[in-house]
């Protein structure tokens, strides 16, 4: 079978929670089952399942071995990515493009309420050099990145806080957002005066990891059109990564996202992202990462993204769902950006719908100061 195009034919994510009232099995089952239900398909229709989980976050090695039954992969072709589901989707896409698979479930999930995330992140540092010093973890790294960005371009903390305000207000219009993130009265003052976690990062600038699960279904072109009247096509994807040591990098920008965007836009024929893209869902672990990504993608010049009109009715709406702030489910939050982009294209975003959304982008990032970046271009239409 010769496949040129991959379509997203189903999606679902459970409502994120700071302390989910269900176990891992159930959360994963609900996400995968929900995606199958959304496409009116059954487990027997799946030919492959690609998961995104993290052994450290699950507290067990080869953590996909216990997800076989809830993810529908029992006696199926199954494989795993140890990063965000947005990366697992690239893997799933390759399985469809191989011509061997007619329906691939891609899911990601984690439960941050079960483990000390910021401390566990120390295990990602160099075990013989950085780890014994105990100075670097995901939080101090994010703080370096925010200061590097502000210092390089003369951006103020209130500009960063404004991103958090926008996303928290957007989350208030997203019925599937983490309840704690839904703040219709969010203010710059409130964000700046929230607790300092690691200066200059404050609590409300941080997309605090939470519990959840998400799933999308991928199918080859012909199959996708049989499954649904409104498939969403992956018309471009790009992926890139930077060096490991933070001290080797310019933290004020995202070179990996620049590369990923270039690749994705070339494939999709996007010449001017500001004109050609209707809406962007960008994974921001910290508020400042939305600005850094927007610049890497080409929505603005370096250091100027805070001036973008990026509200739901704005010139280039960014994170109308509330972004990762609306539920930073590790291993799923990037995949949830894809789901949000799909909702926008299909007109299913309800309270946070961007009018006339045709072509959307969705990103995932992973690693300290977003060492890795992935970007998708998604479009609707029957051909």
């Amino acid at each position: 079978m010769n496949v040129d195009k991959v379509g997203i034919v189903g999606y679902y994510h459970i409502k994120p929670s700071m302390d989910l009232d269900m176990g891992r099995y159930e959360s994963i089952f609900r996400a995968v089952r929900g995606a199958l239900d959304s496409a009116k398909l059954e487990r027997k229709d799946l030919t492959s399942v690609v998961s995104a989980t993290n052994d450290f976050y699950d507290g067990r090695t080869i953590s996909n071995c216990f997800t076989v039954e809830p993810s529908g992969s029992y006696l199926k072709d199954e494989t795993k990515v140890e990063m965000d589901g947005a990366y697992a989707m690239l893997y799933g896409m390759m399985r469809v493009l191989s011509g061997n698979h007619k329906l691939v479930a891609v899911w990601g999930a984690s439960m941050a309420s079960c483990f000390p995330y910021e401390s566990v992140s120390l295990m990602a540092t160099d075990p013989t050099f950085e780890r014994p010093v105990e100075a670097l973890n995901v939080m101090t790294a994010g703080a370096f990145q925010m200061r590097a960005y502000m210092n390089k371009f003369g951006v103020g903390p209130e500009d960063i806080a404004s991103v958090a305000v926008k996303n928290r207000k957007n989350a208030a219009m997203n019925e599937m957002a983490l309840p704690e993130s839904q703040e219709k009265d969010a203010s710059v003052k409130g964000v700046l005066e929230s607790e300092v976690l690691s200066s200059p990062v404050t609590e409300k600038m941080y997309a605090r990891p939470c519990d959840g699960a998400a799933c999308v279904l991928l199918a080859p072109e012909q199959q996708a059109m049989r499954i649904t009247d409104t498939p969403v096509w992956i018309t471009g994807v790009g992926y890139s990564q930077e060096t490991y040591y933070l001290g080797d990098r310019d933290l004020s920008k995202s070179k990996s996202m620049e590369n990923a965007a270039r690749m994705a836009f070339k494939a999709a024929g996007v010449n001017d992202p500001r004109k050609d893209i209707s809406v962007a869902e960008l994974y921001e672990h910290f508020a400042h990462e939305e600005l850094i990504q927007a610049e890497a993608i080409g929505f603005s010049k370096a250091g100027q993204a805070a001036k973008l009109s990026s509200g739901i009715g704005g010139e280039i709406p960014i994170n109308p769902s509330g972004g990762a702030m609306s539920g930073n489910v590790l291993c799923a939050a990037g995949l949830m950006r894809v789901i949000e982009a799909v909702k926008q294209i299909k007109g299913e975003a309800k309270g946070h719908q961007v009018q006339g959304a045709e072509r959307a982008i969705a990103s995932g990032q992973w690693g300290f100061c977003a060492q890795n970046s992935i970007l998708y271009v998604l479009e609707g239409g029957r051909k």
Partner: protein, 156 residues
């Protein structure tokens, strides 16, 4: 909902790793033991790495073990900093009354940066670009913690 631990895993299995640091980091730690910071230079792009590397990622080239090594001295420049009251390494996040300042420091003569605490300093006095001196731990053992941290140059 009442909270209770059904299973609280506290190291049922001990798996201590005896990592081999390799010949390049071996030289680096030998240097620290003598209160010296050494780096190595990529022969094709001239970038000076601290800690030293075997491979220059940019050049996709091996830096020979018998290539150019530099004794960089003990001064550095503050490139970035953060202040936090949260422990970086506690099993459960734990807050202390004491603020720790952590810096991204470029050792003078190198093109990279290392991450260490900034000692005996106040956050409001920190300025990007300020000069720093290494503070050695009392006992040198050839480990990353031979460097206790950095302090503002000329400071107490």
């Amino acid at each position: 909902m009442a909270q209770k631990w059904i299973e609280k895993t506290e190291g049922i299995v001990r798996a201590d790793f005896a990592y081999w640091v390799g010949k390049y980091m071996d030289k680096f730690y030998d240097g620290l033991e003598k209160q010296k910071i050494v780096g190595n230079k990529c022969p094709s792009c001239n970038k000076v790495y601290v800690p030293p590397r075997k491979v220059c990622g940019d050049c996709a080239a091996t830096i020979p073990l018998d290539g150019e090594w530099l004794d960089l001295g003990t001064k550095g420049t503050l490139l970035n900093f953060t202040a936090t009251r949260y422990s970086v390494s506690e099993r459960r996040k734990k807050k202390s009354e004491k603020t720790t300042i952590i810096g991204l420091i470029q050792v003078d003569g190198s093109d990279t940066a290392v991450i260490y605490p900034i000692l005996d300093a106040q956050e409001q006095d920190m300025k990007i670009g300020m000069k720093l001196d290494v503070v050695w731990n009392k006992k040198q053992q050839g480990t990353p913690n031979d460097i206790k941290g950095f302090k503002v140059a000329g400071g107490a």
